[in-house]
């Protein structure tokens, strides 16, 4: 009921599918039409400007005599390159006369020009149109071919204009693209951050206002929130079960140990010894199974801190040496630099201890601990000088209760060490793998990411 209430009502127009369809349609339409307008805009006629003073000074004296003025027919050469383009008489039979060629193509422009109050000039294709010159109510327009310099100026102005427009369109579309990107990417980023939070065990990932959205992303956010809650619930149940199971298993174990201790010292015979050893063994198996189960179910609380791996390894070697000098002497520690890692020291120590003890128990020769930095990973290797493992069994090494050599059951453990180490490596964000070395012997490699 609660979920139904929280879920906002959604109509077809809230659907992301429709929105994206409409949005992309609108944008494509906008792009196409802006391209079209850009083309039209670029080809639009240039604006008329007041006539340049040298031109006026050349033409004005020629147009001050009324007789000459009246004799000006379109097409007539006035002076130099200047030619008459159009004429309007105040009276007479043919009031308006246009140059044949210009009149055909630019009659609108010519008529507009004749109506100007002031004398203007404007490029018209390969010519310059000048006018109107007025004398007693009669008007003429003059034209001449563009000069080389004017050609260049015009071309330059056009180029600049085109560039400015292109920049405007480019930056405008970039801004739109960025806004669109943010609009699309932000919720996705939030969602992926939330998934990471869930993976780290959060029951309530930080989703901001995403669940209130009415579109598909809102739906995704709501189901993600629900998943996180379900996961947390089942994790809690698992944790409780594990804690109960371990309590129920441990209590009788503890009593057994005390009872064995209380049993009369006189009964300290072969069978009692066996019983004691097996109790210890059972105890350690239970501990390891519980640890494995904790690791596999993500119930381990990581305490990440700066770990001086060199110190940790030295301490491990010392401890093994202290407990058994013969084993300790077989250990050879990498003498270069060891890194400082941001990781959980107890888990790291457990992994390394398991690997080292495994190597020591299963082989006879020296066991080497080596470190290298490879790409963006730390590579810690444990090498032995034994017979290695059959290639088809390498993968099986990490399965719980698998033992490489069943005949040595008593010397080795119960076959949980490597499985535990691998799960722990995964929990630390790394991985564990095993290879047969070309020179013989097995190499188990722990890869941990740089943080």
């Amino acid at each position: 009921m609660n979920e139904a209430r929280k879920r906002p009502k959604s109509r077809w127009y809230h659907s992301l599918t429709w929105r994206l369809l409409l949005l992309f349609w609108a944008l494509l339409f906008f792009t196409a039409s802006s391209g079209y307008f850009l083309a039209v805009w670029n080809r639009a006629a240039p604006e008329p400007k007041p006539v340049a003073e040298p031109i006026r000074r050349t033409l004005q004296p020629l147009l001050e005599d009324p007789a000459t003025f009246l004799s000006l027919q379109p097409g007539r050469l006035l002076a130099g390159d200047y030619r008459v383009a159009a004429r309007v008489l105040e009276s007479g039979q043919q009031k308006l006369m246009l140059d044949d060629f210009l009149g055909e193509r630019y009659s609108q422009t010519l008529l507009r020009f004749l109506n100007y109050d002031k004398t203007m000039q404007m490029p018209l294709d390969d010519r310059l149109l000048i006018g109107p010159f007025e004398l007693g109510g009669n008007k003429v327009l003059i034209t001449r071919p563009l000069q080389a310099q004017e050609w260049q100026d015009q071309a330059k102005a056009e180029r600049e204009l085109t560039r400015a427009r292109a920049w405007t369109i480019l930056s405008g579309s970039l801004v739109i693209a960025i806004l669109l990107g943010i609009w699309l990417i932000r919720p996705i980023r939030r969602l992926s951050a939330a998934t990471r939070e869930i993976a780290e065990g959060s029951a309530e990932p930080h989703l901001a206002k995403l669940p209130q959205r009415r579109d598909e992303i809102g739906e995704l956010a709501r189901s993600l929130a629900q998943t996180a809650k379900d996961l947390a619930t089942s994790r809690d149940a698992q944790r409780r079960l594990l804690s109960d199971v371990s309590h129920e298993l441990r209590s009788p174990m503890a009593r057994m140990q005390v009872a064995l201790d209380l049993t009369d010292a006189a009964a300290d015979d072969r069978h009692m010894q066996q019983l004691r050893r097996d109790t210890e063994r059972l105890n350690s198996i239970i501990e390891r199974i519980l640890s494995l189960s904790k690791l596999e179910n993500g119930l381990v609380n990581l305490n990440r801190e700066d770990v001086h791996v060199g110190e940790l390894v030295t301490q491990l070697v010392d401890d093994i040496h202290y407990a058994n000098a013969e084993l300790g002497q077989r250990l050879q520690q990498h003498d270069g630099d060891w890194p400082i890692l941001q990781t959980d020291p107890e888990l790291l120590r457990m992994i390394l201890e398991n690997l080292v003890r495994n190597a020591l128990h299963y082989t006879e020769g020296p066991v080497e601990l080596d470190y290298r930095s490879v790409g963006n990973q730390h590579r810690i290797a444990i090498r032995d000088h034994g017979q290695g493992v059959a290639p088809e069994l390498l993968e099986k090494l990490f399965e719980p209760f698998y033992r490489g050599d069943p005949s040595r059951t008593h010397k080795s453990g119960v076959g949980l060490g490597l499985a535990l180490s691998q799960r722990a490596a995964t929990v630390l964000g790394g991985e564990l793998s095993a290879f047969n070395r070309d020179e013989g012997g097995l190499e188990v490699v722990l890869l941990l990411p740089h943080y």
């Binding site: 309590h247 209590s251 503890a254 140990q257 005390v258 009872a259 201790d261 904790k294 020291p345």
Partner: protein, 225 residues
């Protein structure tokens, strides 16, 4: 005969432990419930309390908290579930002297109990008064004061302080402190000592920092106050 209080609801276990400790000339009184346990701890005269975490009534943690709130500094050994790091750190923070994960090796339990009992006894034997760094420590009366203000501290904290005061101004290694106060060497990732030190610091006036940390190695009681 030493008298020790065991608060645990596992009757079969308690019966066996009583028998086991009798051989070691320790008299074990058993209470199987948190509320009754607290009552016994407050009113009885015990040298040591063995405290299980999972208890009916109030749990071991709450019991310990209330006991320390009443300013009772009886030594407490917590029996925690193994692998539950939160429990063990929390127990120490609440003022337990030591902890032992269950299931324990009975000999280990006896050794820990003996170590704690010996220290409680020691406290009253060496009557030499110590003065250093603003602290005054009187082993005969099992009293400590800082700048004249008397402190309520547990036997373990007492031993740590005494060890630091005996070598005031010098660095005392964690191993040395651990042996002196807990009767054992530090295990890997053993934070017990750090928690005890932080508990002591909390009981002192906040400034100046009298107990200095020598990172990764040990602690030093400063004499310049």
């Amino acid at each position: 005969m030493h008298s020790v209080l065991l608060i645990d609801d596992d009757h079969e276990m308690s019966a066996m432990l009583t028998e086991l400790f009798k051989r070691e000339s320790v008299e074990l009184s058993v209470v199987d419930d948190g509320v009754k346990g607290l009552d016994a701890a407050l009113n009885g005269d015990y040298e040591l309390i063995l405290l299980d975490v999972m208890l009916p009534g109030i749990d071991g943690m709450q019991l310990l908290q209330r006991l320390r709130q009443q300013h009772r500094d009886t030594a407490v050994l917590m029996l925690t579930a193994r692998g539950d790091d939160d429990d063990r750190v929390m127990g120490l923070e609440l003022g337990a002297d030591d902890y032992l994960p269950k299931p324990f090796n009975p000999r280990e339990l006896i050794a820990r109990v003996r170590a704690l009992l010996r220290r409680t006894a020691n406290t009253t034997m060496q009557a030499e008064k110590l003065v250093a760094g603003g602290f005054e420590l009187d082993p005969a009366k099992a009293e400590v004061s800082c700048d004249g203000q008397s402190l309520v501290i547990t036997p373990t904290e007492f031993d740590i302080l005494r060890c630091l005061m005996q070598q005031a101004g010098q660095m005392v290694s964690k191993d040395q402190l651990s042996v002196a106060a807990l009767g054992r060497k530090m295990g890997p990732f053993d934070r017990s000592l750090d928690v005890h030190i932080s508990n002591i610091r909390k009981k002192l006036p906040s400034k100046p920092e009298r107990i200095q940390t020598v990172r990764g190695r040990g602690y030093r009681l400063t004499t310049q106050v």
